[in-house]
Symmetry: C2
């Protein structure tokens, strides 16, 4: 049986899983990312975790196992260089040559790295709802807003590996501050974090009580707000409407660039479905120019919430992905 390994590096935890050919995560383990402040120590710990799940999978499988390799999704993971570069949310700063460090520690035919949103896009293409799409854009709503872009059946890396940073598109001139000192970026409004900020702004502006009043402030998530909106909470509904309006307008501008057949939306706030998708679609169609209207879909991701990052990372080294990105993957072979 052909097995691959996916690694999802988050600011808090690193999750490692074995992915079966049908995209199901069978064995898994995790450890804390934030205990490591340098890349070499981190790579040592990650190699231990990888060996652990490989041994488990071999023990759990009755037939002979062929390991395809290891895919890693990480914030600021650069596919072309194989390095994690200046990650804002990790304790190991600067440039960490993770692919090189892992190749020194593991005997695997192929190890590749990309950022989390690109990994999600590849996961959607190989295992999710985008299988039949040659031109699409994946949007992930989490702490930030990430994107992965497919053009002509290939992931777009750009000249330096940094393509697909839609989270930093400016949507409101002189709007909310973001990490880079710039203002009004899309992710300050439409990421899971941005949706929370909008909810609090809506409470500030409208006053009154909400259906989440009994919940500790810090524990309120964008998914809670989406669910509250779905259940009729007026302030939460206004929050999702505002989010959809901005997101739809930004996606309409993006459609002008690569003319995708669909956008796939992934993340907690999307799980409530139409409560975000409907206002997003409405605003999207409103802002499109006529040749683009009524033909580009906005679809909920089919990747499972908990395992999407592991599945996407593992998809990076599948033969199907190699076939669709012949020029690019030759660089890491």
């Amino acid at each position: 049986m052909n097995l691959s390994i996916g690694v999802d590096i988050g600011g808090t935890n690193s999750c490692v899983g074995v992915v079966r050919p049908d995209g199901v995560v069978s064995e898994r383990t995790q450890f804390r990312t934030n205990e490591y402040d340098n890349g070499t120590a981190y790579a040592n710990r990650l190699a231990v975790a990888v060996r652990e799940v490989m041994q488990l999978a071999t023990a759990n499988t009755n037939e002979p196992v062929t390991w395809l390799g290891l895919g890693v999704g990480a914030p600021n993971g650069n596919y072309l260089s194989g390095c994690i570069e200046e990650p804002p949310n990790l304790r190991f700063k600067g440039t960490t040559p993770l692919v090189e460090l892992l190749n020194e520690r593991l005997e695997l035919p192929r190890i590749a790295l990309t950022n989390d949103a690109n990994a999600a896009a590849i996961g959607e293409k190989i295992f999710g709802a985008a299988k039949e799409y040659r031109d699409f854009i994946m949007i992930t709503l989490g702490t930030g807003l990430g994107s992965g872009i497919f053009v002509n059946n290939q992931l777009v890396y750009g000249h330096d590996g940094f393509a697909g940073e839609l989270g930093h598109i400016s949507v409101i001139p002189d709007g909310r501050y973001c990490g880079f000192g710039r203002r009004g970026s899309l992710e300050n409004y439409c990421s899971a974090t941005g949706i929370r900020r909008t909810y609090f702004e809506m409470i500030a502006q409208r006053g009154g009580s909400t259906s989440l009043d009994d919940k500790p402030l810090g524990a309120i998530t964008a998914k809670d707000i989406a669910d509250a909106a779905d259940a009729g909470d007026e302030i939460a509904k206004a929050t999702m409407d505002f989010t959809g309006r901005l997101l739809g307008e930004a996606l309409a501008s993006t459609a002008l660039v690569t003319s995708p057949a669909a956008f796939f939306l992934f993340g907690g706030p999307v799980q409530a479905g139409e409560i975000l998708l409907e206002p997003t679609r409405r605003s999207f169609e409103k802002h499109l120019i006529p040749p683009f209207k009524n033909k580009i879909k906005i679809i909920e991701s089919a990747l499972p919430m908990g395992d999407a990052a592991i599945i996407g990372a593992a998809a990076l080294i599948t033969p199907e992905n190699k076939k669709t990105s012949p020029n690019l993957l030759s660089d890491v072979l």
Copy 2:
């Protein structure tokens, strides 16, 4: 000798030229586009013009001639369908299946169609300054603002052939009106037409005299304004600064999507060089997020002004372009 034919369909004139392997237009002819109000009559006239330049070229060449084919650049020319679709500035409306009509009238191994900005991008790649670039964006400043995008050495057509409509990106909320009834689109400000509008707005706001006061109003072009700015005209300089500021900001947003190694600028207003390029670069760098700063070039096109559209159209059917777009060009073979 391998020869190709390029056709540039404009709203007023259609220009037809024979293009040599080095990208030089040797024989040429033209006729009025706006005398034709249906696609079939137009295709008949175009076929006559094509035969005319082919006979001239054969007579002028001492060695045996091999015809590679015919490339057409037209407003709303769709590469994937081979049709001119709902062109706003042509008298033949609806959908004209130009590639099919021309294949019925001409014996050529290959006939292909794309829009004028895509043709310019392919021309820059095959014959111009973009030869060594795998990821770049061509921007044409004319009546409108067109763009052609290369990703991973291939022109981006999108799922429907409409990719690369950067002219319609919104830059000023509730700004100037455009043809689609939308407001504040980039091309209303930064196309050649938009630069004229800005010049008149600057005169309105600042009053006083300009260095173009002796010229008939209707004859003042964006190139005149760029040249006046270069010669020290304050209102013209303010116009070019304003143009560069908006253009640079829009290019910075676009860079986030495909991360090109360079933008190539083409058109009359660019011919004065730094007077537009300098403020564009300054604004571009200011609006980029850190991972994108100081590495993406903004370069003047190397295509000759008069023949760029013909050369670009002819480049569409060169073997070099076929090599760089294997998936796409198989569709028209």
